[in-house]
Symmetry: C2
Subunit: 556 residues, 2 copies
């Protein structure tokens, strides 16, 4: 990218003006180091799409420069794109022990584990690339083993916070290394990239400890079996549930593939302490009296095929929710999932269960893993950066984060609110926003043929609104004339009879073709466009609907 | 419905286990009185659907019994179904002056105003039907002129609360008549139907007065023009904005058709006091200095074509949002609208505006119109009903409302949590849940041909997920044989080339037809099913996608 060999450039391939698909890059003197490679879950307007990942065309073009992918932690919005990334670019991946465990699960599923180079690091690790060295510091978040990153360059130090909050009483000793952060700040930070998820929320994130107390209280109160649902990767929450189960002498069953996988990794790698004999399989649940059983399962976001949803509708084989069972949703709904979650809650109430749900502040069963305003200000104060790029957030979050930075001393004009693809260049320790590299979304819809692009999505949207009219024309190859009347078929348009409209469409089509042929415009592509236009206009005038119109030519 | 002439029956056609399309009915001795006729806005899974209204087939069958439609207040979920109702059933409508104003706007749009019988009532009105008389009491809500209803029957009194909260300091003297409620309770209530929207929320609803103070503070602080967005029908909020504009000597422009219409009705009928000369048209906005202008507009829910959304994207002709303008979203997002709303907020921040947004408790710009738990307990305490049906809410809300009723003395077993269509019969002053009448949803999608049913919706969903494969077969009428190769066309499936798969599908289709014909199974319907099944299975095995498969037969 750079014509100047010693230009230091920073940009994002995803994560700015959005929540999800985090991917940032630092480029210096022909070296690119990538930070994270996440995915994003689509909103409902992206019909049939399962995942969104960053378009990495720019990286593929510059693949010889790429030295490493460093992963800050194991959440989907930071690792979910890795298998797709690997299919195009095989570079060494650096991550902590727990994060690597989750990446390995993913690569195994995609049959990519054998050819990948995974390198374990810890907060004390140091990496050296040409002209750039990298060190780390531990941060607290809602998953174990999270890192912040320091890039030591000749221009100065660049810090990427990863996702973080400050929690002085976390579970399992997941303390942030505040002393090291203070040292980094003292040494001097030229540019800070800090996450912005909760930049709108005043105050300090509550501690995990608070949740622990509520979890224990729920276990004490439960008369029969108790079902907890949370994010599988939230090992602190899982540890709290294990602790409460131990105190109340309950066996614990895990439901849901990702829960089983992640807990396995956490136990095996030493991030979770489960007393021997506590875990039972789902088939053993009914062998114990209900007051001796706890269940931990996935699906707290109301995902329709996850364990919790199936329990709520009585569709989980072998496990039934009965009156006086307790169900706890120990994770707040992510914006967009509210309706799915409340539907589950309704179902559980109908089954007679006692349900504990709602945002963390009402249920006490959840605290955010992302720092609130005071946490963000503390990070900014520790790092004392000259320049600041708020990352990991939608525009209003980035905007509020800028105001926070200015409130603790970052100079006005030294904060860059940029978009994915916008490049901030640093030269002679001066930063400015310069060029833009190409970025975009890749839509993954779970299939394994072809590719879903804007084109297909547009068709899906139009059909979803008003359905489709298919007009089949049978023409003689030799004479180039209609052999029979056009035939119009509808799907997703209206129920029942629309024979009058169909007759009109057929007539209109015949007439359009005749007129075009008389004017000697016999090319099929041109005729197709004309037919589409004429029929669309006629249908809209008469029905106020805009179905997709698909003329099909059959030549005999 | 009743075989017993003196049976008193209560049921809902909409509003139970849902938010929206409220419609309840009281039937006694061959008289039916209907309460409200609302619509509901679809969630995003209902592709292309604009509105949902109750299926009134039962009422149409019993139309001779229907004496009246009484409307408690003018919100869409209580009046939005009326034009569609009127097309099938023309019965007298009773409502207060302001509510009638809003109903008239609706009927005018549907060209139904002339043939409808609209009767104005007020809280002192009394209606008499055979064997049943009706009286009213005033309640406070987020729209003027709201009613609760008392049905006086030989079995006892039945009370329907309408939507309400208690607010001792409302705007415009919209006080609830607590004294009358106390009298009704003293006289004796056999059955109470009370709304449940906020039954999950502890405490008492905050007063409108609180919002007034915040509105005034925002006007004081605004340096340039100020844009307020709220529900047009929330006349209290509009009055507060008018008052603040007056204090700060600003002109007020209304943007959005429904804002103009509703404010017109409110001024004309005396529910809103606007100083002479304050209102300006949207074309006059730029004639005044920005610090002398306020704008009141629709679209607080992020509706993509409403005034606020167009302002946020710079697409409102003649009005531009500039740095230091202030934008206030004076209505919390309804669940499901969060993403649309935050998108607007992001856009306004990008334009440099100061934006006040968020839930009422953070912004101070909104309070709910629906009573919290203490409001609901106060209503139950005033009415002292023997039996109780919680209405107007999803299951968990109804469930919590039952617990509240029991906490203030309603006997266990005397609360009925029922579904739309479930009938509670009262005989000898004893209530029990008995039969079920047919109910359902009617989907309106804005077009004017045909009807959108489950069938069309299913097609739209399948297409939206994975698109469609159309297979055209051209057969000879005489010989009943394929004239040429089948032709497969895709839409919404994948971008680009899938020629290999298409070739396989065409072959598979030919083979299926040949096999069926050899077995002498020549009927098109049977062949169609077989082709669909074979192709669907083949495509799923090879691509993990499930496109809709549509075989089309052309006979020459």
């Amino acid at each position: 990218m750079s014509t100047n060999e010693n230009l230091l450039s920073i940009f994002a391939l995803g994560g700015l003006n959005e929540i999800g698909k985090n991917m940032y890059a630092i480029e210096y003197a022909n070296n690119i180091v990538i930070i994270d490679c996440g995915n994003k879950f689509p909103d409902e307007s992206l019909l049939g799409i399962d995942l969104i990942i960053p378009d990495i065309a720019y990286l593929v073009e510059n693949k010889d420069k790429i030295k490493a992918l460093i992963v800050t932690h194991g959440h989907e919005d930071h690792i979910g794109g890795i298998p797709f990334f690997f299919k195009k670019l095989n570079v060494p991946v650096y991550a902590t022990r727990f994060t690597l465990g989750l990446i390995e699960i993913k690569l195994k599923e995609h049959k990519l584990l054998r050819e990948s180079e995974l390198i374990e690091i810890n907060p004390s690790s140091k990496l050296a690339f040409e002209n750039m060295s990298v060190s780390f510091f531990k941060v607290t978040h809602s998953i174990p083993d999270c890192l912040g990153i320091v890039f030591h360059t000749p221009e100065g130090n660049i810090v990427h916070t990863g996702d973080f909050k400050f929690d002085l009483t976390p579970e399992n000793n997941e303390h942030a290394d505040i002393h090291k952060m203070a040292e980094i700040g003292k040494e001097g930070v030229l540019l800070l990239l800090s996450e912005s998820t909760n930049a709108e929320r005043p105050g300090l994130t509550p501690s995990e400890q608070m949740v622990g107390e509520h979890v224990e209280a729920a276990f004490m109160k439960a008369k029969r079996k108790i079902v907890f649902s949370t994010f599988a990767s939230n090992i602190s929450r899982v540890q709290q549930i294990v602790n409460a189960a131990q105190k109340t002498k309950r066996k614990l069953a895990l439901l849901g593939r990702s829960m089983v996988n992640v807990v396995d990794v956490a136990i095996e790698r030493g991030y979770l302490n489960v007393p021997e004999g506590m875990l039972i399989s789902q088939h053993e649940i009914n062998e114990w009296p209900p007051e001796k059983v706890a269940i931990l399962c996935t699906g707290s976001q109301g995902e329709p095929f996850a364990a919790l949803a199936r329990l709520s509708t009585g569709n989980f084989r072998g496990v039934e929710i009965l009156p006086d069972d307790m169900v706890v949703l120990a994770a707040g709904p992510i914006p967009g999932n509210e309706r799915n979650v409340t539907r589950l809650v309704d179902n559980f109430f109908e089954l007679g269960a006692k349900v504990i749900y709602g945002s963390g502040s009402t249920s006490g069963m959840h605290v955010s893993g992302h720092g609130y305003q005071e946490d963000l200000k503390l990070m900014l104060t520790l790092m004392k950066p000259k320049y600041f790029i708020p990352i990991h957030g939608e525009y209003r979050m980035l905007h509020h984060h800028r105001l926070l930075a200015e409130s603790v001393g970052v100079e006005q004009g030294n904060t860059f609110i940029i978009n994915n693809g916008d490049v901030v260049d640093i030269e002679n320790s001066k930063a400015r926003q310069t060029r833009t590299i190409p970025v975009g979304n890749i839509y993954i819809d779970g299939g394994n043929v072809g590719h879903v692009g804007e084109f297909v999505l547009r068709d899906r949207k139009q059909f979803a609104e008003d359905g489709m009219l298919i007009i089949v024309l049978t023409m003689s190859k030799v004479e180039g004339k209609l052999i029979s009347e056009p035939e119009t078929i509808s799907r997703g348009f209206v129920d029942g009879d629309f024979s009058e409209l169909r007759r009109d469409i057929n007539q209109l089509t015949t007439q359009t073709i005749t007129e075009l042929q008389e004017a000697n415009r016999n090319k099929w592509n041109g005729m197709k466009k004309q037919i589409k236009r004429a029929v669309q206009q006629y249908v809209y005038t008469n029905t106020k609907k805009k179905p997709m119109v698909v003329p099909i030519l059959i030549e005999i």
